[in-house]
Amino acid sequence: MNVWIAIGVTVLGCYAVKLAGLLVPAGALERPVVKRLAALLPVALLAALTAEQTFADGQVLVLDARAAGLGAAAVALVLRAPFLLVVAAAVLVTAGVRAMGVG
């Protein structure tokens, strides 16, 4: 039951914020500084998410095979590889490093 409560609250909360963003009147975003901020916020959020999902284990910072995987993804990006190949490189290198018993 607890799990269903958690799911219900999450569903409502996550949908509400998605809708809220879309419903803000366009005029509210006319000022250049607001436009600039709205363009930079996703940069900040994506960067923080990338770092946390690579280096966090719960609330502890760790350096493990995921870092090698992310490095492989970065190299693939620099080489202008297609999206799927970037993700595949990260997954394969992470699995490979773990198979060798590191991280």
Binding site: N2, V3, W4, I5, I7, V9, T10, V11, G13, C14, Y15, V17, K18, L19, A20, G21, L22, L23, V24, L29, P32, V33, R36, L37, A39, L40, L41, P42, V43, A44, L45, L46, A47, A48, L49, T50, A51, E52, Q53, A56, G58, Q59, L61, A65, R66, G69, L70, A73, P82, F83, L84, V86, V87, A90, V91, L92, V93, T94, G96, R98
Partner: protein
């Protein structure tokens, strides 16, 4: 669109519809397939098949879904777990702000389009040069990702027992790789790079001391801080 206008679009630096669809499908398929990792993780955390599929169908924002099942598996209460997932979802409101203006969707369509406002659809739509291309990018990314994410969630949950440890397969690296691939094209100038760098420092630095989901929100402060510093450095308004 006629052949002629499509050609002119290409000439003027715009993108032909087909190129937008190809980019959108690339993102939709790659990220959609990572629903498999979520299905496996969720089932491994003790959620039932119904609960796992309900999350992908109704929440449909990967980071929040992963955060929720992680917190529940760690023994968190339902409201604490949901709060972490919610905080991670708040960033979608920022994407919505931007998309609302760019897509200019009819009001009646917005409640339906809202479910697709996530990192990936925002990244693809925001990268397009015209409203038409942005709408195509948003729709194709949203549809392909939604369908695949839910299908692979189901497969992952069904196959969780057979796979065993998802970590051994490196599937936990798919999420950050996806975020990095979405972020990379946005890092055009020094301002964007400074924002990204400061956000990483804030996100990782605050991680040990704040509840799950909150450090990422605090990292969003990197955007106004860098804008303000830029304005000061240039000796004029932060509008530049």
């Amino acid at each position: 669109m006629t052949e002629r206008t499509a050609f002119r679009d290409t000439e003027t630096g715009g993108k032909a519809d087909r190129a937008v669809v190809r980019d959108a499908l690339g993102v939709g398929v790659a990220v959609g397939l990572s629903g498999f990792a979520f299905g496996v993780t969720s089932a491994g955390s003790g959620l039932t098949l119904m609960q796992t599929c309900a999350l992908s169908l109704l929440v449909f924002t990967g980071a929040s879904q992963f955060a929720l099942v992680g917190a529940l598996a760690a023994g968190g209460g339902p409201f604490t777990a949901a709060a972490g997932a919610f905080f991670l979802g708040v960033r979608n409101a920022f994407y919505g702000l931007r998309l609302s203006q760019l897509l200019a969707l009819p009001r009646a369509v917005r409640p339906f389009a809202a479910q697709w406002v996530i990192d990936e659809t925002a990244a693809v739509a925001l990268a397009q040069p015209t409203r038409r291309a942005a709408r195509i990018g948003f729709f194709v990314t949203g549809l392909s990702l939604y369908v695949l994410w839910n299908l692979t969630t189901l497969l992952g949950a069904l196959g969780a027992g057979a796979i065993g440890d998802t970590g051994a397969w490196g599937l936990d690296a798919a999420g950050p790789a996806v975020f990095l691939a979405l972020l990379a094209p946005m890092l055009k100038t020094g301002t964007e790079r400074a924002v990204a760098g400061l956000a990483v420092l804030l996100g990782l630095g605050l991680l040990p001391v704040l509840p799950a989901g909150v450090p990422v929100l605090m990292a969003a402060l990197a955007a106004p801080v860098v804008l303000w510093a830029d304005g000061r450095r240039k000796g004029r308004g932060i509008e530049g």
